[in-house]
């Protein structure tokens, strides 16, 4: 099936990021003009709802719905915050958008801000994206110079400012309330929900937090209309296309774009990734960023979208696929993943602060042949005591891989304990 793509054709050429290219080759800022001049905020939200655009950050929450939660009659200012923290290991799609189509993001921010009544939008970009932050700021300057940002945009009387805020390199600041705390200059720790950001977000005001890819899809959606956008998706409830970050043991890793739900995981690996490197056998796939439960080689004939993946007990997350071939030591891989979450735990809530480090210690013992057979049950039990019990989703993110690795690849762990692992 030939794929309709919205982003991919504009990637990899540096000159594409300029405003001229955007205006000439991508119908730049026409959607924003149409929205500001011809549409009401409710119409915009309805159109986005029609387009079945769901969040691209990880949870897959319908974006129109999220925007409709922002109270209309609140006297407080409202904020649109773009989550460009892109910190889930394996994910690098937002970086592509910021690098090559930054104006798409800016136009999306204009439309989104108009829809929720925001006069000041923020882009919270991860600290490591130094170049991307500079590129984005340069694009924003271009937009200001043309009058696409600032006062009275397109003569519509609508004002909008955009501020790019750089993070300091914490995974947890990709969690929306952790991000808001960090944006406010506080410690990057997730907040108790409720209240949800739609009610009390940035600076205590109603706030929508959306992923870069989600926002960058909005101009496309407005240009082609919600119905057409929805039809791009090949499964229910998912419209548009998905950017996939494919990494690991494939011949051709990279960022690819597919129509939502149009391919199975196997097709993605074989057709887009060109198969397994050195023609090795596939062992496992982590389908949605390092926090998603692992799939075995037999489980990958599943349509790659939110609901189908949920049905097989994992998740699409940020659409970062990590492919693992037969020579990989999964115990060491799990140690590495767990080490990441232990390192990135903010430390405010008990199970995550204590448990992630404990899981790391147990895995460390296993890898160094110091563990007892009972340690595997202990490890599983600790993960169960973290999963679903923490304040934010980081606990689940840390527990998910441990539980799924142990469930699906237990013999490898047992071999380590017996001193018989073949990778030593």
């Amino acid at each position: 099936m030939s794929q309709t793509t919205l982003f991919e054709q504009h990637f990899w050429k540096e000159s594409n990021r300029n405003l001229d290219y955007y205006l000439q080759s991508m119908n730049g800022y026409q959607a924003a003009q149409k929205v500001l001049k011809e549409m009401t905020p409710d119409q915009v939200i309805d159109e986005v709802k029609k387009g079945n655009l769901r969040g691209r950050g990880g949870a897959g929450f319908p974006m129109g719905m999220k925007w409709s939660f922002i109270p209309k009659n609140s006297e407080k200012p409202k904020y649109l915050v773009c989550n460009a923290d892109e910190s889930e290991p394996g994910t690098c799609k937002d970086r592509q958008i910021i690098r090559y189509t930054p104006h798409l993001l800016i136009e999306g921010l204009i439309i989104g801000s108009f829809a929720i009544g925001c006069k000041h939008a923020y882009v919270y970009i991860r600290g490591e994206y130094v170049r991307e932050a500079n590129l984005l700021n340069a694009a924003i300057d271009e937009a200001y110079a043309k009058g696409y940002l600032g006062k009275n945009i397109f003569g519509s009387g609508y004002d909008l400012d955009i501020t790019v805020h750089r993070g300091a390199g914490a995974y947890i600041c990709g969690e929306e309330t952790g991000l808001l705390n960090s944006l406010e200059g506080k410690r990057g720790e997730p907040r108790v929900k409720p209240p949800f950001p739609a009610v009390s977000g940035a600076f205590g005001c109603p706030t929508a937090v959306n992923n870069v890819e989600s926002i960058a899809n909005v101009p496309h959606l407005i240009r082609m209309g919600g119905d057409t956008f929805a039809q791009l998706g090949k499964v229910d409830k998912s419209g548009g296309t998905r950017l996939i970050s494919l990494s690991g043991h494939v011949k051709k890793p990279g960022v690819f774009e597919i129509q939502a739900g149009s391919m199975t995981l196997r097709q993605i690996i074989e057709n887009l990734g060109g198969g397994i490197i050195n023609d090795k056998k596939l062992k496992a796939v982590i389908p949605g960023g390092s926090s998603s439960p692992i799939l075995t080689a037999d489980e990958i004939d599943v349509v790659y979208d939110v609901e189908p993946l949920m049905k097989v007990g994992t998740m699409m997350g940020s659409a970062a696929i990590m492919v693992i071939h037969e020579d990989t030591d999964l115990v060491k891989l799990l140690l590495r993943i767990t080490k990441f979450y232990a390192h990135e735990s903010c430390g405010q809530c008990t199970p995550c602060r204590e448990g992630c480090h404990w899981m790391e210690s147990i895995l460390h013992k296993i890898v160094h042949h110091e563990a007892k057979p009972s340690d595997l049950d202990l490890l599983n039990d600790v993960a169960q005591n973290i999963g679903g019990k923490t304040l934010c989703a980081l606990g689940d993110a840390a527990a998910g891989p441990v539980i799924s690795f142990l469930k699906k690849f237990k013999p490898e762990f047992e071999a380590y304990i017996k001193g018989q692992n073949k990778y030593a």
Partner: protein, 473 residues
Amino acid sequence: MPKCTIDGKEIEVKPGENLITVAKRAGVDIPVFCYHPGLTVVAQCRMCYVEVEKMPKLQTACSTMAAEGMVVKTQSDPVVKGRAGTMEFLLLNHPLDCPICDKAGECDLQDNSYGHGSAYMRHSEERRTYVDVDMGPVIEKNMNRCIHCTRCIRFGEEVAGIHEMVAIKRGNNIDITTIDGNPLKTEYAGNYADICPTGSLTLRDFRFRKRAWMLKKTATVCEGCSKGCNMEIQHEGNVIYRCVPRENLEINKHWMCDEGRFNYHYTQDPTRVLTPRSGEATIGWENAIQNLKDLTDGKKITFLVGSDLTQEELATVQEYINAYQKGSSIHHFGTDGVSESVDDGQADKILKMKSKTSNLSGAEKLGIKSISHLKTATDVVVVIRGGRADLNVALKQVQGKKLIGMGVFLEKEISTFSLVLPGLAFTEKEGTIINHAGIEQKIKRAIVPKNTVKAVSEVLMLAANKKAKEAVV
């Protein structure tokens, strides 16, 4: 009113009440660490799990608002397992040094561990340890015992109005400390020890002096200022070991200042005058009463009463003057700069009042005028004070007069007195005081006074008796 069900008990709920409050009213105890009724809810410790019907995951009771029709279980298997999991996590790095920890016996971590934890430990790795910073004169820190509940951080920010405690680093290495390791500055530091659910922050003044379970507790009111904060005197063997605040949402909520907390020390000062004195000489009560009579009988006298005395004591003095010292004057004194209650007001944004005596309003209610209205004093002046009223305020008005003191004095305060009749401190008597807002409260006797000191009423009664007897003869 909406109703919800907790462990099968139906109970009415008010809007905005969380499940911990509602459960408490239903007689169901939910264990907590980070939750404190006087602080914001952060749901960090993950101890107060409950199961709420129709919700897929366990919920934290502190952050879940009760709602109509909610069905809550606090003892189901998932809840029990969840709490046991949290307890296990909290104890991974806790030193379990209860035998040498001052908090033992009143420690939330210890109590909840008995109630919800396991007696066995599955963790065999090395424990996390910290180097402690000096927290200043009030609080001693032991970070190894900390469970990162952040009550102290929130207390500083939300109640004491000072951002001095912080969390630094993250994850397993998180450290709860002061900004730049500086000592605490707040004048409410004692509360840090009260709200700490472990022995991480303890009172330097109290530590290693008495085990918590040996203390007897007397509910009383602080005499430190006109606020009237409710407090508890904790004592054993007739010795006070510490004072802690008692909850009174109308007055002091859950808190008290350090000045009030440590105020009791003067009552146990080794230099407190505990026997009657005539000049420098110690005399017996028989002679002391005789001296009092000799100095005052038949004269008009200036009586100066501290606004730290109770209503009962002040009224007794008034009655005595009416019956035995006709024509004498009575004026109250207390704090430099606060001669009347109109001068009183908040000394900070938290609890402290400008009037450093507890019963200024009460003295005024009895019709006693301030010492600022005293024009000329008589040759003999009787000064009666509870122990807190500022003597200098009284003495500068009556320089060169013959002074008789009644009440609580330290050695260094009596050099200008001709006669001193030692009395009861606020910890040793009962009575009524009225705070700045007109709220009447009772102080309670915690300590049995030495048999060489006498209450104001007793001294005046003895003096009256002596006068009456001699009149008959």
